[in-house]
Symmetry: C2
Subunit: 231 residues, 2 copies
Amino acid sequence: MNKAAGKLTESATARGRLPAHEVIYRQLRDLVLYGDLAPGQAVTIQGLTERLGAGMTPVREAIRRLIAEGALEFQGNRRVSVPLLNADNISELILARQWLDPHLSLRATERATPDDLEELTALDEALDRSISAGDLRGYLELNYRFHKRLYELAEAPILADLADGLWLRFGPSLRVVCGRLGTQNLPDKHKDLLEAMRAKDAEGAARAIREDVIQGMEQVRQSFDAPAVSN
Amino acid sequence: MNKAAGKLTESATARGRLPAHEVIYRQLRDLVLYGDLAPGQAVTIQGLTERLGAGMTPVREAIRRLIAEGALEFQGNRRVSVPLLNADNISELILARQWLDPHLSLRATERATPDDLEELTALDEALDRSISAGDLRGYLELNYRFHKRLYELAEAPILADLADGLWLRFGPSLRVVCGRLGTQNLPDKHKDLLEAMRAKDAEGAARAIREDVIQGMEQVRQSFDAPAVSN
DNA sequence: TTTGCCAGAATATGATCAAATTATTCGCTG
DNA sequence: CAGCGAATAATTTGATCATATTCTGGCAAA
């Protein structure tokens, strides 16, 4: 096998140069994940080519990917928009996360090395600083990265994919809710989780994350029962 | 609002003319779902433009969508292929379906009308005929449609999406396994399921589908422990 | 074995065509 | 004469293609 050749060739993608459609995909993904695009907002190809300064082919491909992941919605005619969730959708998401997240946390606890735990702890501390500073965007980003890292540690790529994909679906709504509540009222169970993980208490970790999920997602659900904002 | 205009215009997409990328997507999806593309097989853009007689832009978009759904795999360099599952992957899929399918069946049972039940029964009978006739492709297609219809009846679009997506992941492997076993040895629990649904026994339906999933998926898992075929 | 070259495939652009929404005009009725 | 509504024009946006460019992997020669 000429496995060495690949290394020596120092392929363009390997040395950090990602294809444009990949770059655009990640940018657009973050736009959805962190709620820079509001629920219901229309997404146009040409609008994005300007906003992200790219050709339309990469933008087009990025949009298709996001649609397939449920992050965007194809509206039958040729319109694409950020999905507008209803209370039932939220219930489904809560249900799915209530099953997936504990399962993944349990596996992550069994596999996490001290280094991994340190990394998670550092992420959580950064998260706390964002909350104190009232930095909403930072909170959303770090909170996601905390959970995402947990998924990765579980070494279950398919289940992690599923869990990861759910974040894209409630990302826009989460932003709206957190924007209303302010960063001060955003408790989490990360401390309990980390403690359980350090003790290799997999069941305890699963319980902690389950509470974290319920606590966070119920806030989103309640915002649907509450009177909708003006516009 | 000129909502009337839209109706009168009799929009092209509304009267059945789907965009090419959508058509290509569905064709390519079926190719994966029913195992016409073998696990590990390389998928090239230009190869598909010829095979499906389409331009490369629609093919490109279809491939991106399938990659996002986990039906295809982007191999880092510019290669795309049908994912080759390992035993761990199968375990993940079993786990996910063991949770999703019963849940959806339970909801479907609560909501199914007599007409719906009749439709499912008809699908199952057609399925039996395919088995008797030794028609593997027909079996794969009808079995999928049976479960897919069940997902739809649950009226939980997000969970249904997740469950549906899993089929794309084990489709190619399922084809290989069934090809080895022959259609005669493909038992299912559909009869038990339908009986429970007719009796509005939601818990019973959930149990039946759980057994159906385990029975079917375990066959796939075992084919990994069994000695791999020659090539 | 290593290095450089080459064929072939994928990426990316811009042009072109088609479709849908929005804006405008015109005619009608009250 | 004013206001409403329908038909139509104009603009915007999406879909598709042909083409240019870049990259990869293999092959051949040193």
